[in-house]
Symmetry: C2
Subunit: 316 residues, 2 copies
Amino acid sequence: MLKIGLDAMGGDFAPEAAVKGAIMASTEIGPESKIVLFGDKTKIETILAAENCPADRFDIVATTEVIEMGDHPAKAFQQKSDASITVGFAYLAKGLIQGFASAGSTGAMMVGSMYAIKPIDGIIRPTISSLVPTVSGRFALLLDVGLNVDCKPEVLCQYGLIGSIYAESVLGIENPRVAILNIGEEETKGNAQTKAAHEMMKASGRFNFVGNIEGSHIFSGKVADVIVCDGFTGNVVLKMAEGLYRINKALGGAQHKFWEAMNYEHIGGTPVLGVGAPVIIGHGCSTPQAIRSMILSTEHTAKANLTEKLRLAFKD
Amino acid sequence: MLKIGLDAMGGDFAPEAAVKGAIMASTEIGPESKIVLFGDKTKIETILAAENCPADRFDIVATTEVIEMGDHPAKAFQQKSDASITVGFAYLAKGLIQGFASAGSTGAMMVGSMYAIKPIDGIIRPTISSLVPTVSGRFALLLDVGLNVDCKPEVLCQYGLIGSIYAESVLGIENPRVAILNIGEEETKGNAQTKAAHEMMKASGRFNFVGNIEGSHIFSGKVADVIVCDGFTGNVVLKMAEGLYRINKALGGAQHKFWEAMNYEHIGGTPVLGVGAPVIIGHGCSTPQAIRSMILSTEHTAKANLTEKLRLAFKD
């Protein structure tokens, strides 16, 4: 039995949105999977009852505290020992659940990932990533999208391998094309960081490195399935895409499935990659639909044995 | 009389597209301005005749060579002393023309800008910039978009002042809002470079610094009129915007004036800022419409006395 943990108290519209999203996901996950809800048991059961959902469809782990958005993440993680996120990570660390997702405090989720779960041996810096839609119809993985804003070339090179393994095992892309986001196609182009990283990635031989990808091709699908960049650039790219998605929607032009795919509600949150268990962080404003996608994506990651594959790859 | 130079031999479709664009612009520029065409006189006159345009509407400076896209920019600039770009810059340096535009070799245009024209005293690194449309209907200036990919904070701080002067004098925006592209609104956010630059820009007092701008607001118009970033980030942003513009157009969704404004043909090329005369570089694939916009934008910059204003600002 695969147990997928959800922080029922995480997100601006929790616990309603979280529990409703869990109900949606529960009808779609595999028969050998079960969703475990962490949070205020009474509130959770009230929502389940209102939604006519049998409570035994879920495991509920009662917690009494919540790490708020305004809390200092590291301090709150230590002090609020009965918070939904803290308890969720304790379960994850003990192997009582096989993945954990929350739309709550990103900071606390990172603290949990780094200190309760810990980086996989050999990975210099874990990373947060995002799926980006392409006009080819399939998603590409962009990493890092905001965790490591100053990246050494070695770190970028590792992101190539991490991304390649994710794309292959979770997205099901065979021999995924890995590129580094850069300012020109030629390998001599770039800033000091990307030039050095390009060389390392080319020499690595551990993944299908296809060279540089320019900003114009992030969404074309023509160049890469995995797009590596530092967290500064990735964050700008991701937020710019979100901004243009919103603008396009407001202008009445978002009907095409390419733009619809950019809707964060379908993306399934931000996987934390390179730590010892599947962790996914959702938008604070997550709707039930977004929570649903996040749970399915967590289940998918757990099923794909991503963590073990990463451990194996970074063992040597 | 204001004389605006155009490299008639520059661009993939030169000289036809260049001369046709010049004809379009000639009916729109002020009565006290004249376009000076640099290039193959016979070819230029043939096109003018075919277009039923009197040749005396232009000054024509006959040149016999062309710097090709494949040429080494610095070497070609030295060796092809009768190339349209080389002669154009000689005219510009002597004050025989008050601005120079080309859709030809970007490298040669930069060599001309830096060595024939030279940076303005006090400016550490000249920059190339781009106008980006916003949903508010007015343009914002993004700089740098690819020249200086590794920027010291001092350089970014200067870009704030350069951009502010450009936005005020050329775009006519009063007290333009200057922001630094960053990964969060809070001033403590960023990588080492943007955090240091933020502090310097805040302390400078030379322009209306409004703090950080996130990727999501580049096109909203809500935060800034001038967006400062290093050339790596700016290049990714610009190319990503171009890529999404093309995708959106292909999907049939580019009718709205916001998307239409993203069409490079209306943008008027890439101003080189911080050198001692107006220089504008166009896309290699420039159409007559794009050449027209570039000429008008060069005239506009010359009329606005941008160079003198920059000299004055960086004198102290």
